[in-house]
């Protein structure tokens, strides 16, 4: 306890030096916390966007449909979706089921053409799984045959407004060109870039006719009540509907995206680690200075009968106090910045423009604070400072009291 008191007083003999060292640590740690908050937020938004607009919790395909990302074959479709939907509805964890037709199409405004992903959606059941109807920001949801919904960004790029006329050009399941005219009935804003920028949505029957699918659909989408039991629901439904179909969870369908996310996390962590290493060098420096300028003091202590152990303890405690102080400061800053990001969101479009980052979120990221990570980061900061202060301290213990006392 006395040693702690001694260490505490030693730390504040040089207030400015202590503050500078501590703030170096705090910068590193707050960067780690902020990057963690951002990544969590981005992951959460991406997951929500995928579930709420793109796939639901699970998707059912005809066996062999899902081969690779970006390929939407019309030769392996679910020909009779009704019976499957009825089966799936019987599962107790299923909250909603809907069917969709997804296909590649070009959207033409008479002058320009853009490749898009087109969806035929069941206007009665789509809201059981998805939030398309709730994301209509202008105009109205699908009603008539020639109604089409487009994203606000696509509308801006192609110069469309409510009531605009557009042509959707695609090929049916046999490879024959088909083209239909539509009127924009509503604009959607989902924060999912695919739907805001690259997708058009029409009524299911219209899409089926356009592609010559009869009653066939490309996918059946399922929302569950309890997503913690998604894996067991997936097993049950796979068994329920038989071997002609395949069931994928939203995570399986987006494995590539979360792989990217893992890499981003790692790279951000590495950057924060570098900052922390620089901060650690600062601590080593501070501790070295403390040891060097206090060599006569150490000699005195040793001459008075202090054991090496106690001296090590004292210096380690000094390092620890600076570390704890810096870490606390870092956590406070980190949390404050994270809170701002979590509440206000951070608009990256100023830095990157409206570019596609291969991640299903918009450039405004709302952070998601994880307090367990913050606790870990705090401990990490303290442990690192203690570890790096051991090296200078070893120098102090090697001194002979006589030499130390003579040291100028």
């Amino acid at each position: 306890m006395k040693i702690l008191h001694l260490a505490w007083r030693n730390v504040f003999r040089h207030t400015r030096r202590t503050l500078i060292t501590a703030s170096a640590i705090s910068v590193g740690l707050s960067a780690m916390i902020l990057s963690n908050t951002m990544m969590n937020g981005a992951d959460k938004m991406a997951s929500e966007n995928i579930i709420q607009y793109e796939t639901g919790h699970m998707q059912i395909f005809a066996k062999g449909y899902y081969r690779e990302e970006g390929i939407f074959p019309l030769d392996t479709i679910i020909e009779e979706p009704e019976t499957i939907i009825q089966h799936v509805r019987t599962h107790r964890n299923v909250a909603g089921v809907t069917e969709r037709v997804k296909f590649q199409a070009r959207v033409n405004n008479g002058v320009d053409e853009l490749p898009t992903l087109a969806y035929g959606i069941d206007i009665e059941n789509d809201s059981e799984v998805f939030r398309i109807a709730q994301s209509v920001v202008d105009g109205a949801f699908l009603k008539e045959r020639e109604d089409i919904l487009i994203g606000t960004d696509l509308a801006r790029d192609m110069g469309f407004a409510i009531g605009s006329y557009l042509t959707v050009i695609t090929k049916d399941r046999y490879g024959t060109y088909n083209a239909n005219d539509f009127f924009v009935s509503g604009l959607i804003n989902t924060t999912h870039p695919l739907f805001d920028r690259n997708a058009v949505l029409m009524k299911l029957e219209v899409a089926q006719q356009l592609l010559d699918l009869d009653h066939g659909v490309t996918e059946i989408c399922v929302r569950v009540r309890n997503s913690a039991q998604l894996a067991s629901a997936q097993r049950d439904i796979t068994a329920l509907i038989g071997a002609k179909y395949e069931v994928y969870t939203w995570r399986e369908l987006n494995a590539a995206i979360f792989e990217i996310s893992g890499f981003k996390r790692l790279s951000q962590f590495m950057i924060a680690l570098v900052v922390l290493i620089i901060a650690a060098v600062g601590i080593v420096n501070t501790m070295l200075m403390a040891v060097m300028e206090r060599i006569p003091e150490i000699g005195t202590l040793k001459a008075m009968g202090f054991r090496n152990n106690s001296i090590v303890q004292m210096f380690v405690l000094e390092g620890g106090i600076i570390g704890a102080f810096g870490s606390l400061l870092g956590c406070i800053f980190g949390v404050l910045m994270s809170l701002y990001v979590a509440i206000q969101g951070l608009d990256f479009s100023q830095f990157f423009g409206d570019m596609d980052v291969g991640y299903p979120i918009k450039m405004i990221i709302k952070g998601e604070i994880d307090f367990l990570t913050i606790l870990l980061v705090f401990l990490f900061g303290v442990v690192v400072t203690i570890l790096v202060s051991l090296w200078p301290v070893r120098m102090a213990t090697r001194l002979e009291p006589v030499d130390a006392l003579r040291h100028v």
Binding site: Q104, G110, P115, T167, D172, T176, Y177, N180
Partner: protein, 242 residues
Amino acid sequence: MKKVTILLILVGMLVSQSVEDILKRVDNNTVVTTAQYKATMIISLAGKVREKTFFGYTEGKDRAYMEFTAPARDHGTRILKRGDEIWIYLPSVEKATKIAGHMLRQSMMGSDFSYEDVAENRKLEELYDAENLGIDTIDNRPCYKLRLTAKVAEVTYALRVVWIDIDEYIALKTELYAKSGKLMKEVMVGEFQNIGGRNYPTRMEMINKLRQNTYTELILDDVRLDITIPDRIFTKAHLERQ
């Protein structure tokens, strides 16, 4: 009255026979076993005109090879079609990439031709039922006007209306329709030459009817038909050669 009916039926039979005959003779002119050519493509998009040149080989409906020579930006770009697969080689990438199914529909090198328009070399007779819509003229040349309705499912255009020169049996004008009946493209043949007994189009214009102010003109030179083309031309090794 009875006589008139019989006459009408007879005439109808004659006409329907000749419709198939017309189509057969058109196919005989344009569906070649092999072709070798040099081509100039003039692409006009919203008032801007660009010119691209390439040479190519075609064999049947499954094999085609093209290599661009100008402008400098496209020099060395090569395209290979084998069956349903299309490969494109960009000199900057130095490796051939496969063009996936949906991209076949996209325009070739910014033109109004899609990759499949260029590669299509199938007999109209096998794909379509023909109906005679009478005699019409294109550039003062009398033509049979035929409506071709797809009789097989796997066809690029469900409906075509063609104007076929009465004497030369070549489609001077073709309208290409989507299944919904919407007019998508119009092909005008401006010049044709008699090459080895076939009337083969050497100057044609493709107009994208869904976009304003765009058309592509294709001019063929040094066309040689029904020659033997070495197999190695249609290999990936040839596509990727240095």
